[in-house]
Amino acid sequence: MVTGRMKHVFLLIGLTLVLSLLHLMYGSVDLSLLPDRVAQVIFLEVRLPRVLTAVGAGAGLALTGLFMQTWFRNSLAGPSVLGITSGGSLGVAILTLAGGGATGFLNLGSGYSLMLVAAVGSLFILVLVFVASKRFTSPITLLVFGLMVGYTVSAIVVVLQSEASSESLQAFVFWGMGSFGNASLKVSAVLPVLAVLAMVWGRKRRKWLDAWTLGENIAITMGTPAQKFKMEIIIVVGIVAGAVTSVCGPIAFLGLATPHVVKMISKERSHKQTLPLVLLTGACIALFADLLVRAPWSEDSGFPLNAVLALFGAPIVIAVIWKRTHEL
């Protein structure tokens, strides 16, 4: 017998496959009209990496959003809100703007080196937020702290920009616009793997995650080792958010809004049930948003990725705030 959750999972798997196929089949050129070699290159080096990046980034950011909302017991937490994405940007900015010589001339640096520095930047900010979370008990105060960290990081990036060469500055600006189309096949394949690993971790720690939603003290009495749990969550969120940011640039709203979309479509609340839904919903939203960016049905170019995601995510966040206010 297929349960309601399984129905959702199958539906989302189907939707992910359909959207992926649309991406792979349709683009700005008709592959059937091209020589085999060119068609093969376009398929393997342009379309497939883009699908893998969108799926990996969407799924990964959605999971990090869920983990952070659970950790802070705050439905408005997410990698972009608490400055985690900004931390990743800071890592990339230091590598590209301050250390321009090390990054080569024609590119920002190798995909893996960018991933590493972005992950370090994200982890650094996460540790800061973690320390702050011990002092600030109010979730709102913590969010404001996260925003301030984000502003501070942005200010540091601006200072780095003012000292940077025009080449590295422009490279950073292009990267900062956000896109799923930046990565090569090898680099793009890393993101879905990271997303799956994050989900494996989530499934392994589902009892801790569930217990944590009841409050830190109750979670401890239920056998959750608080320090270990927090450390692991910092590492998982830092690596996934950092890797996604390094490849795609700063991506807004996916992490914050996707868990809420899942709450709208499913009544399941345990992490065992919601983890696959969040992962697949994140992948679907990212793929759908990227369809609007690419607009293969139109002669004209589509919309910037972060604009599409903001149009989708901002109303959801407003709805969440509205609901919370009414519940109070």
């Binding site: 050129v29 292009f174 189309g181 990565a183």
Partner: protein
């Protein structure tokens, strides 16, 4: 058997000859190897960002960062030259093979103008940021599908670029649209924007002409441009009258933003017989100055020059409407000259026609200099009151 007898033996003689031939061939192979000391460089007359390297029959283009003098890439037009360069240079610089007589794709609309002026648009297969393109012929090629629109906003269209399969994509170094993906399309950084002289910038058309096998044609076209430019410059050198002080820029976010003392605009003003107010400030980059100090220093200026984008036209009244503080900066003579990039192809056709820009500027800045041709007003002209 004596030694002499042995030498006379036909079999031994043949063996000896074979060994001799083999030794000679080995020696000649070694002589075929080329060394960096044998390389001759053909440097352009004005541009600092490229040079042509030559050794024996092998020729290549080197793109060099004008400020650091670091070689960024070497471009060759056949794989045998690639092999020679790979053996000769072990400095880690990328060697790029492009196909001669094939079309080029562009990232910038300036590159389209350089191709057009140097080799001809028949060597252009498509470009990005077409919405900024003003060249009518190039736009018609897009409309007739003779060239492809490669996007740019929000993203460069990699699929179309691969489909048209250009010989190379001309890029700005910071904007590699292919992100070094393994797509098999070479990317060549074009550094014309880093040149500090108008003719240096224009001379890049010869580098692009070389890429498509039209170097001689491009050089001829450039020599006509440079000759005319130098002639106009010499007219200024022949006069002894005072150089009017010219300042440029406008208020942006409460600060004064103007081209630096080493910029193209600064050089144009100096070549046109003016004295650039901010000549000692900055290099190629824009200057951001304190508004108060600009108001003070502009007191002694004679002319104000502007490069603006105003699709609905521009006037002194509109300039003051944009920012009231502009009114304090208008020279007593109320002489403000401007170039409206919405009306003229400042970043395209004018980059490859510096002599036209200089002619217009001389007519505005130095009316005492008699020009053979009347003012074309193709680039800069006086800003009207209303």
């Amino acid at each position: 058997m004596t030694f002499e007898n042995n030498l006379l033996n036909p079999l031994s003689t043949n063996c000896f000859l074979l060994i001799l031939l083999f030794s000679l061939s080995v020696t000649s192979c070694k002589e075929d190897e080329v060394h960096t000391s044998q390389v001759e460089y053909l440097k352009p007359s004005y541009a600092q960002g490229y040079r042509l390297g030559m050794v024996k029959d092998c020729e290549w283009l080197e793109c060099i960062h004008p400020s650091t003098q670091k070689t960024l890439v070497r471009v060759v037009r056949d794989s045998s030259a690639f092999d020679i360069l790979s053996n000769m240079f072990v400095d880690g610089v990328a060697h790029i093979v492009i196909s001669e007589k094939k079309k080029l794709a562009t990232l910038s609309t300036t590159h389209v103008a350089l191709i057009n002026q140097g080799a001809g648009l028949e060597y252009w297969s498509g470009g990005a940021f077409i919405s900024y393109l003003q060249n009518e012929e190039a736009l018609q090629m897009i409309d007739n599908s003779k060239a492809s629109d490669l996007g740019g906003v929000p993203e460069f269209d990699k699929e179309k670029c691969l489909a048209i399969n250009p010989s190379a994509v001309l890029i700005y170094p910071y904007g590699d649209p292919l992100n070094n993906l393994e797509l098999g399309i070479p990317v060549v950084p074009i550094l014309e924007y880093l040149e500090s002289t108008p003719l240096g910038r224009t001379e890049w058309m010869c580098a692009i002409g070389w890429m498509v096998g039209e170097h001689a044609k491009a050089k001829l076209a450039f020599s006509l441009i440079s000759k005319e430019y130098e002639h106009l410059k010499s007219l200024i050198a022949q006069t002894n009258s005072a150089r009017p002080v010219v300042f440029t820029g406008s208020v942006r976010e409460g600060k004064w933003s103007a081209p630096g003392g080493g910029s193209l605009v600064a050089r144009f003003i100096e070549d046109a017989g003016g004295e650039y107010l901010f000549r000692d400030g900055g290099g190629l980059e824009n200057l951001t100055l304190d508004l108060e100090s600009v108001i003070v220093s502009a007191e002694n200026a004679d002319l104000w020059g502007l490069v603006i984008f105003a699709p609905d036209g521009y006037s002194i009244a509109k300039m003051v409407l944009d920012d009231q503080r502009h009114s304090y900066l208008i020279p007593e003579s109320r002489k403000v000259f401007y170039c409206n990039t919405a009306e003229v192809d400042y970043f395209g056709d004018l980059i490859v026609s510096p002599e036209r820009v200089l002619g217009d500027l001389i007519a505005l800045i130095r009316p005492d200099v008699v020009l053979e041709k009347r003012l074309e007003e193709k680039s800069f002209k006086w800003l009207q009151e209303e």
